[in-house]
C-alpha cells in the first residue's frame, strides 16, 4: 500500500480520536475552561505538558538544526529541557498553591497593581501569538508535503480541528486531546529513530546507538561523521564554532524563557495540589526527555546518511526521495561545473539570496504555464546567482526529520506516521497557546480589568469567543506569514526570560520586592531585550528611524552575545533594577506578605484545609 493511503489513514484516525475526546470532555464552567477544574492527575498532566511543549519546531526542525550545527545545536537540547528544573523547583508548586487561573493573576495580586497585571497580560498575549502563528504554518506545511493539498487548505483544516476542541472543551478538552497527541507524536518520532538506530548501529536504543559503531566497521559513527564532515569542508561534527560566552547566554535565555512561558506555566494550575505540580513536572520532563535525547541521535544518523548518499553522486543515480523533495523546493542543486555530479561542501551557500528574500532560499525557474524548468540531467533550474565556492547543494534542515524514513528506506506506514506525529505536535501546542490568549482576553482583560461584575456564564462566552477569534487570527498568520514571524519566534524565549521569569521568582522568594520594583524591572528587561533584538534583526526599521545600523555579527554584539542570548542579560538587568527600586520604595502591604506566606507552605500548615 502506498504512502498516500497510509498518510490519509493515520491522519484521519488520529483526527477522529481528537474530535471524539473533545466531545467527551466538554467544559461546563470557567474553572473547567481555564484550568480543567484543577482535577487533572499528575501523569496525564505530565503528558499534556509534554505535548503542549513539544511543538512543530521540536518535532520537525530540532533534529535537523542539530544535524547541521553539530555540537553547537546542544543549546536547544539543554535549553529546552533545563528550564523544567527551574519550573519544578522554583515556580510550579508555588504558583499552584497561589491558585487562581493565570500568570497575570499572580503578578497582579502579588504586586498589588493593575499596571503590573496589564504588563503581564501584554507579554502573555504577545509571546503566545508569535508562537502560535508558527504552529499553524507547521500544520499547513505537513499537510502540503504529505497530502498534496495547498498550504492554505492545510491551515484551514488545522484551524477547524483546533477550533472544534479548544472552543468546545477549553482546558479540559485540550488536556485530554494533548494526552492522546503526546502518544501519537512520541510513537511517530521514536519508530523511525529506532529503525535507523538498528540499521546504522545495530542497537535498538537510539540514545546509545549514536555512540556506537556500524556493524562490520572499526571506527565509531561519530568519528566517521567527524572525518566525513572535515573532508567536505564542514566543521567537525562534535566540535563547536560558536563562542563559549554566546552558547552560555543562549542556553540560559532558553532555559529561563521555557520556565517563563505562560502556556507551560498554566498547565501546572490544572492539578490538584502543589505536590502534584512537582510530580507532573517530573513526568513532563521525563516524557520530553525521551524525544530530546533521541533527537541528537536522529541528527547523527540523518547527517551520515545524507552525506554518504549525495557525496559525489551522479544526479541521475540518486534515490527517488531526492527528486521528490526537490519538487517541493526543500532541496536545490546548482550544477556549477556541469559534471552532472553533486558537490556538497561546507565552503558557503550554493547561491546568492534573491534581492527580496531575507536569506539564501532557492527561487526556481518556471515557464509561462507555471511548469518547472529542468536542466540537462533533469534537475530544477534556479533563478538565484551561483556563488563562486564549490558547494552546489541547498538542503532545508526540516527535511532531516520529514525525509528520514525515505532516506532510511523505511516502510510506507512509517512515513504516514511521521505526518500524523508532526500534526499532533503542531496542533497540541497551538491549542495550548490559543487557550492562553483566550484566557488572557476573557479573564485578565475583560473580567478583571473592565467588567468585574460579569457572570460566569458571560465570562465563558467571552473565553469561547476569544478562543475562536484567536484561532482565526493565528490561521491568517499561518496562511500569510508576515516576514517577521520566523525571526520573532525564537525571541519569545528572550522576552519571557527578561519579563515574567524574574518577576515571579522575586515574588515568591522575597517579600520586599515592591510593585514599583517589579514593574520597573519588567519594563527595563523587556525594553532592553526587545530593542537589542530589533536593532540587529530589523536593520531596515532602524535605518528608517535615522539610527546608524551595524551588521548582526560577533564583533558588533555587546560582550559577544547574540540577539538569541540577550534575554539572559535582560533578565539580570530586570533583577538588578527590581531589587534597587524595591529598596527605595515603601514596603508592600501586609496582604502581600500573606500571599507570599501562602505560596511557601502546604495549605494544611496554615490551617486552610486539605488542599495544597
Amino acid at each position: 500500500m502506498d504512502v498516500q493511503f497510509w498518510t490519509y489513514l493515520l491522519v484521519g484516525l488520529t483526527f477522529a480520536l481528537y474530535i471524539g475526546i473533545a466531545i467527551w470532555s466538554r467544559a461546563g464552567s470557567t474553572s473547567e475552561f481555564y484550568v480543567a477544574g484543577k482535577g487533572v492527575p499528575a501523569l496525564a498532566n505530565g503528558m499534556a505538558t509534554a505535548a503542549d511543549w513539544m511543538s512543530a519546531a521540536s518535532f520537525i526542525s530540532m533534529a535537523g538544526i542539530i544535524s547541521f550545527a553539530g555540537r553547537d545545536g546542544s543549546v536547544y537540547l539543554m535549553g529546552w529541557t533545563g528550564g523544567y528544573v527551574l519550573l519544578a523547583l522554583l515556580l510550579a508548586p508555588y504558583l499552584r498553591r497561589f491558585g487562581k487561573f493565570t500568570v497575570p493573576d499572580f503578578i497582579g495580586d502579588r504586586y498589588y497593581s493593575r499596571t503590573a497585571r496589564l504588563v503581564a497580560v501584554f507579554c502573555a498575549i504577545f509571546i503566545s501569538f508569535t508562537y502560535v502563528a508558527g504552529q499553524m504554518r507547521g500544520v499547513g506545511v505537513v499537510f502540503s508535503r504529505f497530502l498534496e493539498v495547498e498550504v492554505e487548505t492545510g491551515v484551514v483544516i488545522g484551524m477547524v480541528i483546533v477550533l472544534f476542541y479548544a472552543v468546545l472543551g477549553g482546558m479540559k478538552g485540550i488536556t485530554y486531546t494533548q494526552v492522546a497527541q503526546y502518544c501519537v507524536l512520541i510513537f511517530a518520532f521514536m519508530v523511525p529513530a529506532i529503525f535507523l538506530s538498528i540499521q546504522m548501529a545495530g542497537n535498538p536504543i537510539p540514545q546509545l546507538g549514536f555512540g556506537g559503531t556500524t556493524p562490520g566497521e572499526t571506527v565509531s559513527l561519530l568519528s566517521k561523521l567527524d572525518g566525513l564532515s572535515e573532508e567536505l569542508g564542514f566543521n567537525r561534527y562534535t566540535e563547536g564554532v560558536k563562542p563559549t560566552v554566546d552558547v552560555f547566554f543562549i542556553t540560559a535565555a532558553l532555559m529561563c524563557g521555557t520556565a517563563g512561558l505562560p502556556h507551560v506555566i498554566v498547565r501546572f494550575y490544572t492539578v490538584k495540589k502543589a505536590s502534584a505540580a512537582r510530580n507532573s513536572a517530573l513526568w513532563a520532563l521525563l516524557l520530553i526527555a525521551i524525544l530530546y535525547t533521541a533527537a541528537p541521535a536522529v541528527a547523527v544518523f540523518a547527517r551520515t546518511n545524507l552525506l554518504n548518499t549525495v557525496k559525489d553522486a551522479n544526479y541521475k543515480d540518486l534515490p527517488s526521495w531526492f527528486g521528490n523533495w526537490e519538487n517541493t523546493g526543500l532541496i536545490a542543486w546548482e550544477d556549477k561545473n556541469g559534471d552532472g555530479k553533486i558537490q556538497y561542501t561546507g565552503r558557503g551557500p550554493a547561491f546568492e539570496k534573491m534581492p527580496d528574500a531575507p536569506k539564501a532560499l532557492p527561487a526556481f525557474q518556471e515557464d509561462e504555464q507555471g511548469e518547472k524548468v529542468r536542466g540537462s540531467v533533469g534537475q530544477r533550474l534556479l533563478k538565484n546567482t551561483p556563488t563562486d565556492n564549490d558547494n552546489e547543494l541547498y538542503i532545508d534542515r526540516d527535511i532531516m526529520v520529514l525525509a528520514n524514513p525515505e532516506i532510511g528506506k523505511l516502510p510506507n506506514w512509517v512515513i504516514g506516521l511521521v505526518a500524523a506525529g508532526g500534526l499532533a505536535a503542531a496542533l497540541s501546542t497551538a491549542a495550548g497557546l490559543l487557550l492562553v490568549i483566550s484566557t488572557s482576553v476573557a479573564h485578565d482583560l475583560v473580567k478583571t480589568t473592565f467588567a468585574p461584575n460579569m457572570s460566569e456564564k458571560q465570562e465563558l462566552i467571552w473565553a469561547r469567543g476569544g478562543a475562536a477569534v484567536a484561532v482565526v487570527v493565528a490561521g491568517y498568520f499561518g496562511i500569510k506569514p508576515p516576514g517577521f514571524v520566523a525571526e520573532v519566534v525564537a525571541f519569545a524565549f528572550g522576552l519571557a526570560a527578561s519579563s515574567f521569569f524574574p518577576a515571579i521568582i522575586l515574588g515568591i522568594f522575597t517579600k520586599r520586592t515592591t510593585m514599583q520594583g517589579a514593574v520597573a524591572g519588567m519594563v527595563v528587561g523587556l525594553l532592553f531585550t526587545a530593542s537589542y533584538i530589533i536593532y540587529f534583526k530589523f536593520p531596515q526599521l532602524i535605518d528608517s528611524l535615522g539610527i546608524p545600523t551595524m551588521a548582526n555579527t560577533t564583533e558588533n554584539w555587546l560582550f559577544g552575545i547574540s540577539p538569541e542570548g540577550i534575554g539572559t542579560l535582560g533578565m539580570l538587568l530586570n533583577v538588578v533594577v527590581a531589587v534597587i527600586v524595591s529598596r527605595v520604595t515603601p514596603a508592600p502591604p501586609q496582604e502581600v506578605a500573606d500571599i507570599v506566606e501562602k505560596v511557601r507552605y502546604p495549605r494544611a500548615a496554615l490551617g486552610e484545609g486539605e488542599e495544597g
Binding site: L208, R278, A289, P296, Y601, L606
Partner: protein, 96 residues
C-alpha cells in the same frame, strides 16, 4: 478543632522553608555544573576523554545527553525530598 489548633507553629514553618532553600541551592548547583559546567564551560577539556566502549567524547555527551538525564534525576530527588518535608511539617504540627 479550631483553625489555630491546626496551624503549624511559625518555628516549624521557618525550619521547613530553610530546608527547602538549602535543597534548592544544592540541586541547582548540580543543575548548573552538569549543563553550564560540563556541557559548555569545560566541554573541550572533557572532550579529551572518550567514554569507554562508545564513540562519545565526554563533553559532547554531557551537552547532548548527560545534562538531560541529570535534569530528570534532580527533579525526581526534589519530589521525594519535598514530599518528606511536607509530611514532617504536617505530622509535627502542634508539637510546640
Amino acid at each position: 478543632m479550631s483553625d489555630s489548633a491546626k496551624k503549624v507553629s511559625k518555628d516549624a514553618r521557618d525550619r521547613y522553608w530553610r530546608s527547602n532553600l538549602k535543597w534548592l541551592a544544592g540541586l541547582l548547583s548540580v543543575w548548573f555544573l552538569a549543563s553550564y559546567g560540563c556541557g559548555i564551560l569545560w566541554v573541550d577539556a572533557l572532550d579529551k576523554i572518550t567514554i569507554p566502549g562508545t564513540g562519545f567524547k565526554l563533553g559532547f555527551w554531557f551537552a547532548q545527553q548527560g545534562s538531560i538525564y541529570v535534569f530528570v534525576v534532580l527533579i525526581a530527588i526534589y519530589v521525594v525530598v519535598m514530599n518528606r518535608l511536607d509530611k514532617q511539617l504536617l505530622e509535627g504540627k502542634g508539637e510546640q
